[in-house]
Amino acid sequence: MDEWKPNPAVKPHKKRSWYLAWKYKLMNQRALRKLCQTGAVLFLLVTVIVNIKLILDTRRAAYEEEEESAQDYDDEMLNVEVPRHPVNNKKVLDVEVYSSRSKVYVAVDGTTVLEDEAREQGRGIHVIVLNQATGHVMAKRVFDTYSPHEDEAMVLFLNMVARGRILIFTIKDEGSFHLKETAKNVLKSLGSQVAPFLSWRDMWTFVGKKGGEVYGEKHAKSPALSTWGDPVLLKTEVHLTSVEDAECHWPDTELNRRRKRFCSKVEGYGSVCSCKDPTPIEFNPDPLKDNKVFDVPVAVIAGNRPNYLYRMLRSLLSAQGVNPQMITVFIDGYYEEPMDVVELFGLSGIQHTPISIKNARVSQHYKASLTATFNLFPDAKFAVVLEEDLDISVDFFSFLSQSIHLLEEDESLYCISAWNDQGYEHTAEDPSLLYRVETMPGLGWVLRKSLYKDELEPKWPTPEKLWDWDMWMRMPEQRKGRECIIPDISRSYHFGIVGLNMNGYFHEAYFKKHKFNTVPNVQLKNVESLRKDNYETEIHRLLGEAEVLDHSKNPCEDSFVPDTEGKVYVMFIRMEQEADFTTWTQLAKCLHIWDLDVRGNHKGLWRLFRKKNHFLVVGVPASPYSSKKPSSVTPIYMEPPAKEEGAAAEPAVAAAEQT
């Protein structure tokens, strides 16, 4: 302030302060005073102007910056992420469990996590696993312990659940009929007082921590055989532990972080979540030399069977020559758990909003998955199509790598499939042998892009047509006389027993005894002989070499084929025209192979093994190979069984193995 001189012209007198001098001057010189006043006003004005400019400048700069970062770059859709589970530090969960004849429900903190009042469904013991730190539902299962063997499954499941988890049990309808001692003991070891005495049509609820406290148990005895126990409602409180305690302390790696995420969400996958010795989730199988299918995308078609998917992906990722980057899992529906499994293995997964119902839904899911696969991998000429209920052979990719050039070069081929419909334990023998067949087996197969894009995709059955995609693909309009290549011993194994067209009985009868290759690095034999013309030469050679069996014997009898090994035998059956499979179906039935529709034929010829001998069946006179029949031999004819049995088998025909 000292150096500020308002008016340099004014020189203060020595003995007066500058103020007085100024005052004096001002009073005396009016003009100067006026000047000063104007000057001051000017100053004020300038200040105001500079001020305004400053404000404007700052504002503009700030605005520009805001705009710079924002304009054009804002997501049009405001992804406001609402936290799904509001953070609350509540340490106690209110749990309500209801058990009755026709309805069960479980509510955790007022949220219903299980409700089942459907008729004729959900019978047995319902089990829910909660995370002891967060209270989230980690697994939901129902074991129909009214039926046999379900209690074993329940024991298996309960053993897999990690210590410390909260278990909730409730019975719907009946859960004790086939609840054996072992299972009862397991329940008792969880702290249940009632379990050992559970009996016919009792109602029961139980909440406890695995390996720890019991939070509550209620039971209502059935007064008589014909009536049910009274409904029971158990209300209890569960004390949550800290997250730290609920987690394992694995070394901090990328893999373990995936594992941790998975294990804190779901239960029932056994040792993958074991704290001490978790099973690996990365497999690093040996790479294949000269792998022709390394860049072929693999589409895994899945529904809501996460345990199946888990098993399937394990076997797939363990197969030699697998390329995890090419794998995409397509999940039919917005199911979380299958997605969790996919993420556990570090694969990519895609969810599909369900369209249509039942078979048509599967069919639409297939279409969307195939189209997406070729979109995601625009360079691919092929795609491998797998389903979630298949085990994949260790040499699956090796098998494809050795045969895929045929699909590229031979126009008469429709697909390569890893599955031999007729390849049962007792009818398949040679892992290096391939066949050409007129039916499309599916269950792990390779699709040519041009076939899909040019032929199948444009006319794929629309959602309102309730068709099976595989049945549709087998129709002559689509197949156009082309054939598939299959191995004698399947490179996939169908383990699914619950599915759209599947049940335990059906699986036991047709899939359980299927042969599955476990030998690595099988060198396929004479792959070139699978080309269209070469194959005919090969068949003629085989038939020329084959010994004609004694046609007077019963072909169903074991003695029909001599007790030799490594020989080639041929038999002739009656087959009036191309579509006459009467005798074949009967033969297939007594040989205990696939008999629900005709599979595995090539121009009226079937190839399989019996007693380690190659066994050829030729349909006469429809097959072009009929000429090989010695004139002395009368083709065998087998009568179809009486009408009603045939009718009973009819619905099962529709139940193809795709599920």
Binding site: A40, V50, N51, S69, D72, E76, A372, F374
Partner: protein
Amino acid sequence: MQKINRNVVLALLSLTSLVFLLFQLCYYKFYLSQKNGAAFSKVRGSQSGQDSTRWHVVRKFLGLISSHNIPVYLIDPLILGLVDKDIDQIRSSPDGPSPECKYFCAPRDFTTFALLDKTWKHEVGLFRTAEKMGFQWLKIINKDPRLDGMDDLSGMEIPLHYIFKLASHAIHLVVFYERSGNFLWHGPLRLKQHMDRKFVPFRKLHFGRYPGAYEKPDLLLVSIDDLKVQIPKNPSSFLEEMSHSRFLECRYREARAFFQLYPDDASLDAVEFRKKAKSLLHLAALTLNNLGVKFWLSSGTCLGWYRQCNIIPHSKDVDLGIFIRDYKAEIIPAFQKAGLPLKHKFGKVEDSLELSFLGDDVKLDIFFFYEEDDHIWNGGTQAKSGKKFKYLFPKFTLCWTEFVELKVHVPCETLQYVEANYGPEWKVPVKMWDWKSSPANVQDNGVWPVDEWDDVIQIY
């Protein structure tokens, strides 16, 4: 006394205002200097410290990605522009030490690199290493457009852009994806709500305002400013490609809504026609691309793309547009060589040129477009009467899109284009279409002089 007071007040006021003014000036100056000194300012002139920072950041980044075996290539337009000037020298001496930092020290806020999605495995390790090296990073993810066209598939969101920031420089890593038309695509850069809008001045990024489509580039490993880096083999053509790389995604959601209203024709005829039209379009695209003639989807084919993301099965032909300035005399022989005989030729290069070729049952119409000051038009000719027609369009530019597994051009301003041609009712399918009267933008344009008929109306 009163007077003194007034004067005192006045003086005090002036004093305060002056002090205030001084303070404000100081503040203003301080504010400006702060802005200038901040991480991302308009760099005026070059300070050597800043220069070497950029080089160091790039070097560190290249070290980071090579330690994770991730192949990236340089697509920064600024640096590629500089490189292009010396391209021969750089090509001839791939390992020569450079005396001065010429390229990577050039003043700029970003250095842009490209990454092919399929060449890396999305390891999380990269980002941890980056953090250890001092990088701050931002990942921009969004929906996978390759699944967008599908009925209700929802995949995981895919990474489209990464930004690595260190000191005053940032690396923009653009992720490229392969698409069905055998081309590379990069996504737009859109910030979600919770994202830091000030992480970098996004507006100055060279990539990300729009999605883009590129050919798969040939790469060249060069050493510039003592750094080994991959660049497009031909930087100038890359820069040229970049200048009009804008990509439009088909409006899949609207297309789905359209099919809800008007179910798709799934008859065998329709399937067959689509197949033929698709292969005709592929053949035409191949032929024109080989000639280097730029073309776009026009008329019904464009409408099919815009309205239903597919070929309209009852349209019976494939329509393409070409600017008359791109006309080449080789077009006709090239098509004939490709197995598409000329069906008719109307007009002449100076006026209303239109070519028709005959494919397998499907006709290929090529319309030539004439640019005026405020509009663009193409012509039509009625063979029997020699009448001329004119179809007017508002001015448009060209964008890339993907259509029936093909990378093709469409007018960027597609809605105006389609509306000009088909009127506001373009959303409603019309089976009866008269090219002389139905279009909304048709005008009579006189009659060809009879003596020119032999030339301007040729039918084969």
